[in-house]
Amino acid sequence: MAAADAAHVPAEPRRGELVNMVRQDCGSCHGLTMKGGLGPALLPSNIAAKDPEQLRFVILHGRRGTPMPPWSRFLSDAEAAWVVDLLRAGLPRD
């Protein structure tokens, strides 16, 4: 995760909780491996061309007219930015 801003990186154990949330709860729709499901694929190749700021916004506020819900109740702005970095780099294997 060389591209990640070090200031964003959450400390453990929160970091592990966030990885589990992304894999398991985001994975309910996007697939445990982020290759897509009812929601679109979120592999690095799928999102490389997207604006990270917009991705952060969608995570926090959802997308109207689609099932994507807002996650701002569960994530701070900085954590959402870190989740974008995580997805752009690819989820760790475990």
């Binding site: 398991q24 309910s28 697939g31 499901g37 009812l38 099932p67």
Partner: protein, 362 residues
């Protein structure tokens, strides 16, 4: 030599593995590996209860032999799939795919591909129906399709259009007569009478939210296995902490019950008096038990973190509940709510007992 009637499989979603269990001694018998990406996996059983057909997110279709605890055959049949069904005669397996959108039909014995029905949309809520038919919904298209596979290589498709916005799942009632699709994009459900499909889909519970803004949905309800008991169907209210009761004679609302969170599954306890409900993130550490005659919640359990599924034995003396984030499956006595057993499992999701082999819609 042994029978398979007391066996079952538990999906370990992150490990690409299923655990073989038995419900007589409530123990684990074996682990079966090599099933690919099992996020959102489901399975159906052969009519003799020996084989399971496992549908993986990676498009894998695996035929698992319960007696040998091994994968007998496996094919990758699409890019991204969500579930499947077995035909009334047990000879065909239909797999519902997201990418590319459609249904593929396979020979249950050999997994040889027989036919493909392209839909151009994500397929959800696939089920079997009488006459070797398969019924499913199309998420983006808002349609319900009925595929008659009585000539397996030349399936006939009947399309019901404009059933409602964004059907997200569907199921067939236990008597096999009605197919119900839940709608994400609007308040209501679509009902098809399979005795009379040419009449199209009828909207039921339209406007159940009464104009109130729904809450965000952090996990879609699953309709397969939803409770139909005592003349009532218990259905999820999308984006609300409610289950809706529908009179199955008139298909009109018969009441609603406020519950702990947004319901994911509502499962009828055999006997039909009680319904067990689990919930979406972030309320997913709780299971509530509803008494239908009094319409009250008579018990609240905290089986563990991230409860994903509940499965009763056929006669209802045990209920098996998976807790994903505690890596455990807990077996309860539904009468006393006593814990009978606790089985370790890695990130368990679906629990599938072989009694499903004999039920339409499973």
């Amino acid at each position: 030599m042994r029978g398979t009637g007391d066996l079952g499989l538990i999906v370990e979603r992150a490990a690409g593995r299923v655990k073989l269990v038995e419900t007589t001694g409530r123990s684990e018998l074996a682990s079966i590996d090599g099933l690919g990406d099992l996020s959102h996996a489901s399975l159906v059983y052969s009519r003799d209860g020996r084989y399971a057909y496992v549908f993986g997110r990676d498009g894998g279709l695996s035929k698992v032999d319960l007696l040998r605890a091994s994968v007998e055959r496996r094919v990758i049949q699409a890019g991204n799939s969500i579930g499947g069904a077995i035909s009334q005669d047990g000879r065909l397996i239909a797999v519902a795919n997201y990418e590319p959108g459609g249904v593929r039909i396979f020979d249950a014995a050999t997994l040889e591909p027989l036919a493909e029905v392209s839909t151009g949309a994500k397929v959800v809520g696939i089920t079997d129906a009488s006459g070797n038919r398969f019924v499913f919904s199309l998420f983006e298209a808002g349609e319900i399709w009925i595929v008659d596979a009585s000539v397996p290589r030349a399936p006939r498709v009947e399309k019901i259009r404009n059933v409602g916005k964004q059907p997200y799942d569907g199921f067939v009632t236990p008597d096999g007569r009605h197919y119900i699709a839940g709608l994400f994009g609007e308040d209501g459900l679509a009902l098809v009478d399979l005795w009379n499909p040419e009449a199209g889909a009828r909207r039921i519970l339209a406007g159940y939210g009464r104009g109130a803004e729904p809450m965000p949905v952090y996990k879609m309800p699953h309709l397969r296995g939803w409770a139909v008991a005592g003349g009532l169907a218990v259905l999820p209210a999308i984006g609300r902490n409610e289950v809706l009761l529908v009179d199955t004679a008139t298909w009109r609302e018969a009441g609603r019950i406020t519950v702990h969170g947004q319901p994911v599954f509502a499962i009828a306890q055999p006997g039909g008096r009680r319904v067990w409900v689990n919930f979406a993130f972030p309320d997913n550490d709780t299971v509530q038990v509803i008494d239908l005659p009094t319409r009250r919640i008579v018990k609240e359990l905290k089986p563990g973190r991230a409860v994903l599924h509940m499965e009763f034995t056929a006669r209802g003396e045990q209920v098996w509940i998976s807790s994903r984030d505690d890596d455990a499956v807990i077996v309860y006595d539904p009468a006393s709510f006593a814990e009978l057993a606790r089985i370790r499992a890695e990130k368990p999701s679906g629990i599938f007992l072989t009694s499903r082999a004999f039920m339409t819609g499973f």
